[in-house]
């Protein structure tokens, strides 16, 4: 009996059960609308996890996230449409391109701190947006890019996976979501993760113990950008068309909302935030602009009264309860 109990409460077992349950979603959910929501949640969760790496764990206020998401999306679309690449090569190449751009932007901007870094990255975001809007020959300008092909079916171990159905897309997004989660988890729980947090907590002390803070920040930034590009790629092939809006600061602000609400500096926080905001956004969709007022209110209230977000807040509560009991 005790053995069974210890297996059930083991977090790896629970994780596995959760993954299996999620895999069964497309089997049991028949509503196309719900599937659409789930797929979007997966895509935005990847973007949120990515942002949290540089903002939550390394403490740098990156406001260019939407720009990199957009670069990833456009790069994937153009590689597939104009150069005939398949999805998987396009995914990787787009991520590499975006990472290189991220590296080049990170170099000058990460030398600054706090609000200067926020403004600098936001400026870059706007530059990307305007480029997407005006560089007609490359991006199709305000009309955007249409007709992005879906990923071709792949054969693996004798089984053929097609991605033309919602279920197929779901599994594709879930697969990349899991990869992102594993990458994030491994980084955070390693010496590298400790370095990121050290930079966040006290840069001078971190320098004095022999860690190159600039290098640490760049590594975190580029990784974050790489993951953002993955999310962008998924968005491109799922939605099938792009317009400059997906590279705008609106994307940045929305992902920021997911992360702040869910919990900066936690792993599950961004996921929780994405789920809540996406669900509420859909439920309250008819309220349109009022919905945005609600977003703003949530952001202001959370950052003033509960800056650790939902997950952070629950954790702090549990800690305090634990202290009271012991």
């Amino acid at each position: 009996m005790k053995a069974i109990k210890s297996i059930i409460t083991n977090k790896y077992f629970l994780g596995l059960v959760l993954i299996l349950l999620i895999c069964l979603v497309p089997v049991f959910i028949t509503s196309k609308y719900l599937m659409h929501i789930f797929i979007l949640m997966l895509i935005w969760s990847i973007a949120a996890l990515a942002l949290n790496l540089i903002m939550g764990y390394t403490g740098q206020a990156n406001l260019a996230h939407g720009g990199f998401f957009g670069i990833g999306a456009y790069a994937t679309a153009l590689l597939m449409l104009k150069l005939g690449f398949g999805f998987w090569p396009a995914l990787i190449i787009a991520a590499i391109i975006t990472s290189i751009i991220g590296f080049l932007i990170g170099l000058p901007t990460l030398r600054t701190k706090g609000s200067y870094f926020a403004i600098g990255t936001l400026c870059f975001n706007v530059i990307v947006f305007i480029a997407a809007e005006r560089w007609e020959s490359l991006t199709g300008g305000a009309r955007g890019v249409i007709g992005i092909p879906q990923p071709a079916p792949i054969s693996f171990l004798g089984v053929t996976f097609t991605f033309s159905s919602l279920a197929g897309m779901f599994y594709l997004c879930f697969f990349l979501f899991l990869i992102t989660l594993i990458i994030k988890y491994r980084i955070v729980h390693s010496l590298v993760g400790r370095s990121l947090i050290a930079v966040r907590e006290n840069e001078d002390l971190t320098s004095s113990i022999g860690l190159d803070t600039m290098r640490t920040k760049i590594i975190s930034f580029v990784t974050s950008v790489f993951l953002a590009s993955l999310a962008g790629s998924l968005y491109a092939v799922y939605i099938g068309f792009l317009d400059p809006e997906i590279a705008s600061h609106h994307v940045t602000f929305e992902v920021l909302l997911f992360v702040v609400l869910g919990g900066i500096g936690t792993i599950s926080g961004p996921i929780v935030g994405t789920i809540i905001v996406t669900l509420l956004g859909e439920i309250l969709h008819f309220l349109d602009a009022y919905r945005l007022v609600a977003y703003g209110l949530v952001l202001v209230l959370v950052i003033i009264f509960m800056p650790q977000g939902i997950v952070g807040g629950i954790r702090a509560l549990r800690q305090r309860m634990g202290e009271r009991n012991s």
Binding site: I183, S190, L191, I197, E201, L205, S208, I209, G210, L211
Partner: protein, 253 residues
């Protein structure tokens, strides 16, 4: 081991450090003393790369380290503490010490993502070092506590521990006794001596004269950024210039 040559740091018109030269010999405990504002912390900042000198050089085991970045200097084996106790408050004692040993490990982000054997080995090494240092500074039993709940004196010990976890050959301590009660001083002094006995050269900035006189091999006295005396404690305490510099200063003996 460490040589400072004609070191100068001017902040606009203010000469914080002016044409300063002295050495720290291997294995000794050298104290730097002087009235408030005489430039002592600035000297540490210059040596450890937090400030760039206006003139002069810093040489470490013969190598010119002038103007190198702080993390590079730490890797070369010079560790320091800060005047205001600087530790990672949100982290546990063990966490503080683990990250302080990171500089001696090589695994990077790919190692972390793929959980390579090397990255796991590095983690183990850092953990072992952390426990070893925790033992040294007497916080082994408290190593899982967050640093924020430690007492003032324990936090000072942790700061020294962080510096020691980097495996330094030269340890620069900036006012380790600051804000410590007379009763707590004894164990702290013993810790510094123990570290020195283990072979670590120590540079010490301190105001508590009793400590300075009792544990230092040699003393350098600064006033207005310049050296006004240098020698063994007994000589320096009798020097006319030193007494004049401190005239009116209430010092703890």
């Amino acid at each position: 081991m460490l040589e400072v040559r004609n070191l100068s740091k001017f902040f606009g018109g203010l000469r914080a450090v002016n044409d300063l030269s002295f050495r720290i010999e291997k294995g000794e405990i050298l104290s730097i003393i002087g009235p408030n504002g005489s430039g002592k912390s600035t000297v540490f900042n210059l040596i450890t790369g937090f400030y760039e000198p206006t003139y002069g050089q810093v040489l470490y085991t013969g190598e010119d380290i002038t103007g190198l970045k702080p993390h590079v200097i730490a890797r070369k084996g010079i560790a320091r503490t800060f005047q205001h106790t600087t530790i990672y408050l949100q982290n546990t004692v063990q966490g503080n010490l683990v990250i302080a040993h990171r500089l001696r490990t090589k695994s990077g982000i790919f190692g972390a993502i793929l959980r390579t054997a090397r990255s796991r080995r590095d983690e183990k090494i850092c953990l072992e070092k952390a426990d070893e240092v925790a033992e040294l500074i007497g916080l082994y039993g408290k190593r899982f506590l967050p640093a924020s709940v430690l007492s003032q004196e324990e936090q000072k010990r942790l700061a020294i521990g962080i510096a020691m976890a980097t495996d330094p050959q030269l340890l620069l301590l900036d006012e380790p006794m600051g804000g410590v009660t007379d009763r707590e001083m004894g164990p702290l002094v013993k810790l510094i001596q123990k570290i020195n006995e283990q072979g670590v050269t120590i540079g010490l900035i301190e105001h508590k004269m009793g400590v300075v006189m009792s544990i230092s091999n040699r003393v350098v006295v600064l006033n207005y950024g310049q050296k006004i005396a240098e020698g063994i404690p007994a000589e320096v305490s009798k020097s006319k210039e030193v007494i004049e510099a401190y005239l009116g200063e209430d010092y703890h003996a």
